[in-house]
């Protein structure tokens, strides 16, 4: 198992190299001159040239890339073109906000999705099942920025219960997390339901029933653990998806997260910020994947024995 984890961590290196290379390429070979952007709408060409040279933008592409890699290996991601701030400090200030938003959102999604999915699977074709499935379908169908705007109107303007924006204490996370988590909740509900329906048909569930195991226990002990295996994958995938997709929610709620920083940085061709944010995201994403795989092993002994090999 250790060996497996080590191997996976090792794999992160080529992935990060690849990710940065792709992003660096996109940032370098597309129109838009960072120097021009820094200097704004009125900047004499010589000034722009001067700044380009100073920023090292005139060096060959590969030189620039490897300079970045070299510095990054020493923990130096450089300074933002826009804010002049150390990119690492900036991201470290904002990434946790995105992470906490995503974690709360996924927690809400799991807390809703799994129980509702189970209930709706065990009571297949019941009213409860229909209601939750319709709810789940609406959940995945709604553009989430729209949902967010309406939640603000309902809970901040209408009822005055919750803050409308920003990160001002614990209550401000509720609306953005719901906005971000709704889609995932819906997907997890559907996945849990179908996985549960699948598992409940299995022979070993029949065996359990034939042993006289109470129905409740059949569901919670025998079926659930098996049904969770594909659900864990989905939760992991959704986590990654939410982490990246948080940008819309962050914009609606003026959430000080890294998604908004990244979009802003992409638009402003702030390459150091873009690279560092993507590295952070990709690393987190890979960690989540690893966590999912470890959880797998925890739930499914077959997979565990595979890892040990």
């Amino acid at each position: 198992m250790h060996k497996y984890i080590f191997k996976r961590l090792l794999l992160l290196i080529p992935v990060l190299l690849g990710v940065t290379f792709i992003v660096f390429t996109i940032m370098s070979f597309t129109p838009g001159d960072p120097a021009q952007l820094i200097l704004g709408e009125s900047a004499p060409p010589e000034k722009v040239e001067e700044l380009r040279a100073e920023m090292g933008l005139d060096d060959p592409f590969l030189v620039q890339y490897f300079r970045f890699v070299g510095n990054a290996l020493r923990g130096d991601f450089g300074r933002s073109y826009r804010t002049k701030r150390e990119v690492f400090a900036e991201i470290f200030a904002r990434f946790p906000n995105t992470l906490i938003l995503t974690i709360v959102a996924i927690a809400i999604a799991v807390a809703i999705g799994i129980p509702v999915g189970i209930i709706s699977a065990t009571k297949q074709y019941s009213l409860m099942d229909s209601i939750s499935m319709v709810g789940a379908l609406l959940g995945v169908s709604m553009p989430n920025f729209w949902l967010g705007l309406m939640l603000i109107l309902a809970f901040s303007v209408g009822l005055g219960w919750l803050p409308f924006a920003g990160f001002e204490g614990a209550s401000s996370i509720i609306l953005p997390a719901i906005t971000l988590g709704t889609g995932a909740a819906a997907i997890i509900t559907r996945m849990t339901r179908s996985s549960m329906l699948e598992v409940i048909r299995q022979d070993y569930i029949r065996t359990a029933r034939a042993k006289g195991v109470a129905e409740k226990k059949v569901v919670n002990k025998h079926a659930l653990k098996n049904a969770l295996i594909p659900v864990i994958t989905v939760v992991g995938l959704q986590f990654g998806y939410l982490l990246g997709g948080a940008v819309l929610t962050e914009t609606v709620f003026s959430w000080p997260g890294v998604g908004r920083l990244l979009v802003e940085a992409i638009k402003q061709k702030d390459t150091p910020t873009v690279l560092a944010s993507v590295v952070f995201m990709a690393t987190t994403f890979s960690f989540v994947n690893l966590l999912v795989d470890i959880l797998y092993a925890y739930v499914d002994p077959r997979i565990k024995s595979q890892y040990s090999k």
Binding site: N97, I100, P163, A165, G166, E168, S254, L291
Partner: protein
């Protein structure tokens, strides 16, 4: 079983890591952010929302509006510009012009920086030298050749050539005076650790979220009335209004046009409106067919109904422009007649120019929603005279780069004459030396205009300058290198309990006088 234990250890390690990370997030619930106009007696904390986070609080490191709005509270400039655009002493007590290129400034004594240092002539020399080194703001002070320290409270500024608008430039927020020691100590991180002489000192910056300032008790003009000021970053325009309504914000900049009525009619809120120094225009590439033909450019001017744009896009928050610089800017030429909306005349001009059947062209814009709307209206109106326009939204980066390269046909941009001096408002946009990235993206070339703009720049005598600029405006409007649309009215929404808030036409409003009733 043992394996399970290991698993739990790993899992908890990851959880702890996540918690540590998240623990770094803000966890200081704002104590008193309510009080939507209910007049709490002791309220002395102001929360202001603007649409973007400041980039840097190093005034010499950036020249963007969101940063200036915060910097304005932290720093002072030698000369200051009142809300009526009058130049008054700031850190300089008085000044006089020794000769055409030499200015002597006497600096106020006893001015303290937030770090306790006293303001000395050396700080001013250091600041101006630093500006000259800065890529971002050097153009504002580029006329300055040298700063000489006479004594601790007297300096002499020399310009290479006579430079008329020097005082206005020294009032620009980008010429804020910084403390040499603080800058040296903070090094590259100065943008996050600003130290100025202003009425509020910097406390904390939650990146992307808010900047907290605190009253500076040793402010040389006496302490401000508010104890703390927080600048929050609320991106969505409609949400700023919502924040005012819920009482979570005290002041919100740039209320969306559609929301103005809501704020104005709200029992606890007030809408403060006033002129600004910004102008919006549709540029045309004067080097490219068919816009190299003056008649075509004029036809475009006649075809576009600026009033309907002001009405539907800005909900009336604008004034039809008759010149590239607005009435608040020095030497605005108020005798010029704006092109009226006259599609018939436009068609006639097109016919004269040989485009009886119109032509196809493109209009570029960035993703600014106002500009996108203008583009759509312009598209519809130009269609009336037979010009088929395709709208191409571009990313800001490529927009700047490609318009600088002259790849465009038409484009939409705006310009703010921050210094309220025509040099700032006209030179970059219309002088032939500024083609492309310099700011003249219409590639307008007119020797006479060049001459007048240079004249206005070097002349010291106000009347002489005014005359040159008025003539320049006349030619520019006549030759119509672009279609000037409107001067934008700026607005701010605030709780009714907020008193003493005054709009500054340049967009960065001083909070010094603000208080709660």
């Amino acid at each position: 079983m043992l394996k399970n234990k290991k698993f739990i250890v790993i899992l908890s390690a990851i959880m702890v890591f996540a918690l540590v990370l998240t623990g770094c997030g803000p966890n200081n619930p704002e104590g008193d952010n309510g009080g939507g106009g209910d007049g709490e007696a002791a309220k002395d904390s102001l929360i202001i929302a603007q649409g973007a986070d400041a980039k840097s609080l190093d005034p010499h490191g950036t020249n963007d509006q969101p940063s200036s709005r915060v910097s304005k509270q932290i720093y002072n400039t030698l000369v200051e510009q009142t809300v009526d655009m009058e130049l008054v002493p700031g850190l300089a007590e008085e000044w006089n012009q020794v000769d055409e290129t030499t200015w002597e400034f006497k600096i106020k004594e006893g001015v303290k920086f937030h770090n306790g240092e006293e303001l000395k002539a050396s700080d001013i020399k250091f600041s101006i030298d630093r500006m000259l080194e800065s890529k971002e703001v050097a153009h504002i002070v580029e006329s300055i050749e040298s700063v000489e320290i006479v004594d601790d409270y007297k300096i002499i500024i020399k310009t290479a050539k006579p430079f008329g608008p020097l005082l206005a430039h020294l009032a620009h927020t980008a010429t804020s005076i910084v403390n040499e020691k603080a800058v040296t100590e903070a090094g590259e991180d100065y943008g996050q650790k600003p130290v100025g002489t202003g009425p509020f000192k910097f406390v904390k910056w939650d990146a992307g979220d808010k900047i907290s300032l605190e009253r500076f008790d040793d402010y040389y003009e006496g302490p401000a009335k508010l104890k703390t000021v927080v600048f929050r970053n609320i991106t969505e325009g409609t949400n700023r209004t919502i924040g005012l309504e819920t009482g979570e914000l005290d002041v919100a900049y740039e209320i969306e046009p559609i929301d103005k009525g809501t704020v104005a009619n709200h029992k606890d809120l007030q809408l403060i409106e006033g002129p600004s120094l910004s102008m919006a225009y549709i540029g045309m590439n004067n080097l490219k067919e068919p816009f190299n033909n003056e008649k075509v450019r004029k036809a475009v001017n006649y075809a576009i109904d600026a009033d309907s744009i002001i009405e539907s896009v800005l909900h009336g928050a604008g004034q039809k422009a008759n010149s590239p610089i607005g009435p608040r800017v020095f030497a605005h030429n108020d005798t010029l007649e704006p092109y009226g909306y006259d599609p018939e005349k436009a068609k006639e001009l097109l016919k004269e120019a040989g485009y009886e059947n119109g032509f196809n062209t493109t209009i570029w814009t960035n993703d600014n929603p106002i500009r996108l709307q203008i583009a759509q209206i312009a598209q519809a109106q130009l269609k009336e005279i037979g010009i088929e326009v395709t709208i191409e939204p571009l990313e800001w980066g490529s927009y700047l780069e490609r318009t600088a390269n002259g790849e465009h046909d038409m484009f939409i941009l705006g310009w703010v004459s921050v210094t309220a001096d025509p040099d700032y408002g006209l030179y970059p946009l219309y002088h032939s030396s500024q083609h492309g990235s310099g700011g003249n993206r219409s590639f307008f070339t007119n020797e006479e205009v060049d001459k007048f703009l240079e004249e206005g720049r070097v002349a010291i005598d106000a009347e002489k300058r005014a005359e040159a600029y008025k003539k320049a405006q006349e030619i520019i409007v006549r030759e119509a290198p672009d279609a000037i649309l409107y001067y934008q009215t700026q607005n701010v929404g605030a709780q009714k309990s907020v008193k003493g808030f005054q709009l500054h036409p340049a967009g960065h409003h001083s909070i010094y006088e603000v208080s709660f009733e």
